[in-house]
């Protein structure tokens, strides 16, 4: 049963379907939360996020996109909101920690319950992130995980805004290129378009 069917059952109060969704997505949400907020607060965040899923599952509509996309937006909104209570220094530290993980992340150790296609997509992005120039990886992590705008990133990194924008554009285009069909299957950095492009900005 796919995620979309499960969340529709959750909307009808199906605890079993909820349990299955938890099993599929809790690791991803926990890792994300723990790196941003610390493991202790991550447990609270997990409980709040999944309770929100339980209460608002009826708002999901498969006609508008996948469950993962919808749920990812819900999680990110919650975590960024929580993260804003932290000092900027702590947010930067958390982002750099995430960037370090992504710089060395093995691309084949995703959670086993991920659907095959999603796992393949995530592996491709993980591989491409590892191959990005550090500067591009940092701005993407600061934007997505730390919730910073390009202007805030430029200020924090003491970089011209134009440089930040350029790094965001180039980095995202390389990550997207890594998801193109011809780049998806082989785990061969030398043959990865993002790898070739990763040598320069």
């Amino acid at each position: 049963m796919d995620d979309e069917e499960l969340v529709e059952r959750v909307a009808d109060g199906d605890v079993g379907a909820f349990s299955e969704l938890y099993d599929r997505h809790a690791q991803r949400v926990f890792t994300w939360s723990a790196h941003l907020l610390g493991p202790a607060r991550a447990e609270d965040a997990i409980q709040e996020i999944f309770l929100r899923l339980w209460q608002h599952a009826g708002q999901f509509d498969r006609g508008r996109g996948t469950f993962v996309s919808w749920f990812t937006a819900v999680v990110r909104h919650h975590l960024i909101h929580e993260l804003r209570r932290e000092a900027v220094r702590r947010r930067l530290d958390a982002a750099y920690e995430i960037a370090d993980v992504l710089a060395t992340a093995p691309s084949g150790e995703l959670q086993p319950d991920d659907a095959a296609t999603r796992q393949e997509t995530s592996a491709a992005v993980a591989r491409a992130m590892r191959l990005l120039p550090e500067g591009q990886r940092h701005v993407i992590v600061l934007a997505y995980f730390a919730g910073m705008s390009q202007s805030q990133i430029a200020e924090q990194l003491a970089l011209p805004l134009g440089t930040v924008k350029k790094r965001v554009r180039l980095g995202m285009r390389k990550l997207r290129a890594a998801l193109e069909p011809e780049a998806m299957s082989p785990i061969d950095p030398a043959g990865d378009p993002s790898g070739r492009a990763g040598a320069s900005e």
Binding site: V15, A34, P39, A143, F145, M172
Partner: protein
Amino acid sequence: MEHEELQERLEAYALGALEAEEAEAVAIHLLACPACQSELRSYRRVADSLPSALAAGSPLRVHPSLKRKVLAGLHAPTPTHRLFRATLWPAAAALAVLMFAGSTIWGLHVQQQLARVELLRSEQLTKLQTMLDRDDQLRVLELLDSSARIKRLLKPVDPASPTFQHSYGKLWTRADGDDVVVMVNLLPQPPPGQHYELLVTSEGRTIDAGALKVDQDGFAMLLFKANKKGPSYTRATVTLGVTPILDWQQGSS
């Protein structure tokens, strides 16, 4: 702003990294540009994969006992879940789309926009069309997307008011047209027998532009035509009964 210029911002938009004004421009452009909608989907696919990529490399693992806590925290299912989806969803979705467009315009935080933009799919444009008739929808979109648009911020008359301190509104006119749009947000429902009105002043004359009907989210919109192209308002006020609630005056912002 040109298509190419906006298209170059889609990467940052997908990451939630644009400033509010930029995000507003992109969001409005997206409503009418299938090519950019498609492009955004490809970047969103990248962004959605980032948490899984992190999970792949992180040594942190969720403790099995946490699931018991999560399950223990669930309340009994509410039948309104399915009821909401079956009966209220079309209206709620249309409102969500409109609120999304509105929320970007209000300058809400980028992350809030990101959460809301998840609601923005091409399929939902049809829902937006169900909320406004097509002519009015185009009038609003054209005004908000116009390079000749002029925007005025309506702020609480009493910033310390516990009832209205968070309320706000915006009024758009365009120098080359006579359409006027006003949106207000975070207004409480008016007391029985009272309603909100918009007053606008031009060339020393104040007129009642119409009533603002606030929905359950505190949101209201009014579209009307000025008496000439490029109306030069000097003041706009939202009143409740005879009490001014929100106000903009020339020179104030």
